[in-house]
Symmetry: C3
Subunit: 269 residues, 3 copies
């Protein structure tokens, strides 16, 4: 991109001055920087929410952008802070695994550097606000063209979020809710293409203690308001939605809720 | 304006990655674009709320800005997507009527184009996220100077939101709540100038099943905290407010609640 | 800074079109301006919240930025609107005291001008929305380089927020909660350095009707989840937190709640 650009993703909310302080620090280091809010509404310290958010936001950005991520339940502890270059995207982020689903299987695409060089930090460093005192200044220096190798040593160990892959058998899938979006739609980790062999699938879905017979639809408007449906999420996985309603609230489901899907109707072709 | 500029108005909230994905897509197409958030807190799929919001936000912008609007209960259905040029302002928006109150009576000021040219879209197009795959890329191409006529054919049919005009008789007005603002003030569709003939009006207002005697004041601080008052909203219509309080909650009123106003006191001059 | 820059801090929320209208007005006056949201989630008309927010956000910005602040319970009344230059930072703000904690003791660092020159305003001026019609246009003109002395006369009287200083005796401190952050942590006005004489302090804290024995820790992760702790806030004062929990909700504390601290353990060195 042309102008140096930093995006911000945090769980800080906007009622507290924390985001504003980070913006001020970055503008002080790089007066030309373009700051883009992605979200300050990540639920507090929710790493799985942050992981899904980043996985479905960062890949849409062009290379050259620096992504500042501060969801940091371990702030002030010995957990490291990292510079990550994964699949062409650059992040500064606590070492808590929230970024790891961004990395593809090709390890040549991945650089991870531990932030140890205090000359790029703000001093004194508060033990409760590394976002302001370490991550934001480092992001600002990177946006000015600093070579990331100046920030500290490359490492090959970091925290990974454990994500159980879905179990896919012909006509029977087991997975879980990996995200509840703003509209209450349940995004699962079951790839929609698992349904490809079934010409007109009907789904029996167990989620949140209930068993639902779901028509498989192309979009929310194909059925009456309130009807539960299955469809392909914008991330390409099975989504369980209540048309014009809030499926998560009605089903008592949240991130991590198990989902079991039986495909009824036509046998596999 | 100097820098190419796109504003964003959605009902996506900021906990989901949807807004962030659209920003990434636009930055990828136009690295120089300036992105301005107007709101991501439009209540989910609330077209009347969106209509009021746009009517009282867009006109303040200078020409040349592209306004991206994604409040889209019909996503994935056959409802068209539109480029609109109304009164000098440019929008990309689903064809659901939320923009139509922006257009003045002068039809020469209005251009509406149906987005049918897939070469300006992102592929594959998700059936649940046209904001990311059609509207955002189109906005970004427009911000680079693309001639809107490349986007598809001009049309002369589109959805209009039905808005009943207020009924204004001497001393007796009937209308409705058209917006409840962040402070709980009730904005009605009754023009404040209807009160101009009355030198010191007192209002008897029926709203939400209650009848209130309202002093007509210039500002919230003219009365004690908690007192209901009538005043001219920042949109130039009758506003019913509870000084330093939340009128909507106290009266159980929402968008669409009927409002009946009798003007007491001095007869018309 | 290089590009002309205006930050925005309001209690308007983002569901209403008020912030958007101000952005449009400013862009119309200065097409080159860079607009940075600091917060639109200040609790409605809460001047003490706004004061803490500004005190802990504005000082991080470089000089040259214009800070637009609209938390304005007195809108439309005779309360003046001000241009303030304090410690090198420029604000346009209602005269309600929310900015005064930014000013240091050195009066040579402080310029306060009453906004009286209507040629820099938007007309007609709504009596309920001075943010759009006076403060935003003035901020935009300032961002274009207007000399602030053109805006009106310098004054030496303004509203100050009364803030009782903490009472600090050896081993016994009395103060109050000055901020509840997004995570529910209680930020007090008791300077953490008051604890410096105590080599390994334990605190007995009275807050919200409860007496708590608090370990003094360096960071939230030093104790089990849910444990109440005392630590140095990112503002340098005593913070009372519940590790990975919401202290304010558990203690029923809010801004203004008195806090009494007894330091147990080792006597002063």
């Amino acid at each position: 991109v042309t102008a140096p650009t930093i995006t911000l993703t945090t769980d800080f909310g906007e009622d507290s001055p924390y985001v504003a302080a980070m913006k001020g620090v970055m503008l002080g280091i790089n007066p030309d920087v373009r700051l883009l809010d992605l979200s300050h509404q990540i639920p507090a310290q929710d790493l799985r929410h942050a992981a899904f958010f980043l996985r479905h936001a960062i890949p849409y950005f062009p290379p050259g952008v620096v992504h500042l991520v501060v969801v940091d339940p371990g702030v002030g502890s010995a957990r490291p802070l990292l510079y990550v270059r994964a699949a062409g995207h650059q992040l500064v982020v606590p070492d808590n695994g929230c970024w790891t689903t961004l990395a593809g299987p090709d390890v040549r695409d991945l650089t991870v550097i531990r932030l140890t060089e205090p000359s790029y930090w703000r001093h004194p460093v508060s033990s409760t606000f590394h976002g302001r005192d370490i991550l934001a200044p480092v992001a600002a220096h990177l946006s000015r063209g600093l070579d990331a190798r100046q920030l500290g040593p490359a490492v090959d160990q970091w925290v990974r979020l454990a994500v159980a892959p879905p179990v896919l058998q012909p006509g029977l899938f087991r997975g879980e809710v990996v995200f509840v979006d703003h509209f209450g739609n349940l995004i699962t980790n079951i790839p929609a293409e698992a349904l490809a062999p079934y010409p007109s699938p009907r789904l029996a879905v167990e989620v949140g203690g209930r068993r639902l017979a779901l028509p498989w639809v192309k979009t929310y408007t194909d059925v009456e308001a309130g009807t539960f449906v299955g469809l392909t999420s914008s991330s390409g996985t099975l989504e369980v939605a209540a048309a014009q309603g809030h499926a998560a609230r009605r089903l008592g489901a949240e991130i991590g809720t198990p989902v079991k899907v039986e495909v009824e109707g036509a046998p596999p072709v």
